[in-house]
């Protein structure tokens, strides 16, 4: 019996929640539940996915409203107690707004919504989320889909220095699709238990949908926590 209990947060406007649920339940055969935004607790879930989409219509700023939702307060509590949190796309924006991760995601420099596969360099294989890349050390680059209009990572220079010196930039774009600072595609928090990334691993867990490079990230979490 797996010790990992996944929760997938659902906001009004989330649209990658079912992709994450499907991958975890049917591809990786994990214990997974949805967590509605009005719930006050993540319950017994020890890994929470904050999925992509347009939470609360992305009104005001991406992630700004979701950050104050009931469920997110408990996700912050879980993260501060060492629980694992993965924010994907809109989820990454929400984690930045909530202060779990530094910086912010601003409009793509192209002003266009980008939707395509991008090549990513794995910069740190010693994390909860990337351990499987270390096992298969041949894998230094992966291809994952991106789909966003606000994926341009920004932070001040002292934060960037901190991220770089602590090896907290986990994924970097080989061919930057959005103007992101230092080609950043994904970062972790200081404790190493919270990852935010713009690309969508949950959309790339089976070859039938165009690739399985995303599965390494979920398999890393599952193996690490077991």
């Amino acid at each position: 019996m797996s010790k990992v209990k996944f929760g997938v947060v659902v906001f009004p406007g989330s649209n990658c929640d079912h992709d994450a649920y499907y991958a975890l339940k049917h591809v990786f055969k994990q214990d997974v539940q949805f967590l509605w935004h009005k719930e006050n607790s993540v319950g017994d879930r020890n890994v929470v996915i904050v999925p992509g989409g347009f939470s609360y219509g992305d009104y005001l700023r991406c992630g700004a409203i979701a950050r104050f939702s009931n469920i997110l307060k408990d996700v912050v509590r879980l993260a501060n107690n060492g629980g694992t949190v993965l924010g994907i796309c809109n989820g990454f924006q929400i984690l930045c707004e909530s202060g779990l991760l530094p910086g912010a995601l601003i409009r793509n420099t192209s002003l266009k919504f980008v939707c395509r596969n991008v090549s990513l360099k794995i910069e740190n294989k010693k994390t909860i989320f990337t351990g499987k890349f270390e096992d298969s050390s041949k894998i230094n680059e992966i291809s994952l889909p991106v789909a966003h209009a606000e994926g341009n990572y920004f932070c001040d220079s002292s934060t960037l220095n901190e991220l770089e010196s602590e090896n907290r930039v986990i994924f970097r774009y080989n061919d930057n699709p959005n103007g992101s600072l230092a080609n950043i595609a994904g970062i972790i928090n200081k404790m190493g238990n919270v990852l935010g990334m713009m690309p969508h691993p949950e959309r790339a867990c089976e070859d039938v949908v165009g690739g399985h490079d995303g599965s390494w990230i979920f398999r890393s979490i599952i193996e690490y926590l077991n």
Binding site: L60, R61, A64, I65, F68, C96, E97, P102, G103, A104, I106, R107, N108, T109, S110, L111, F154, C155, D156, G179
Partner: protein
């Protein structure tokens, strides 16, 4: 009742691609002397509070908390009205 008029803009150090594109368009319309176009948000709200100081305090608080993100945005506001 007081009224707050709030402007939220991208910080000067941050490239504003939207402003840039609008400026390109203005220049191509022949307005060649237009420079430094920046696009922001305008928010209006009313406050049912007893005095102007309280209106300022609350407006500042909500700007910090929700209406702007200090990582990328600056805000300014004007309070008007009163009973």
């Amino acid at each position: 009742m007081y009224s707050a008029k709030i402007k939220v803009t991208l910080r000067k150090s941050i490239l504003d691609p939207q402003g840039k594109i609008v400026e390109h368009s203005l220049v191509s319309l022949g307005y060649k002397n237009i420079k430094n176009t920046r696009i922001g948000k305008y928010i209006e709200l009313n406050l049912d509070v007893p005095n102007e100081d309280e209106a300022k305090k609350i407006t500042d608080e909500v700007c910090k908390k929700l209406l702007s993100n200090p990582v990328m945005e600056d805000y300014e506001f004007e309070i008007s009205g009163g009973r």
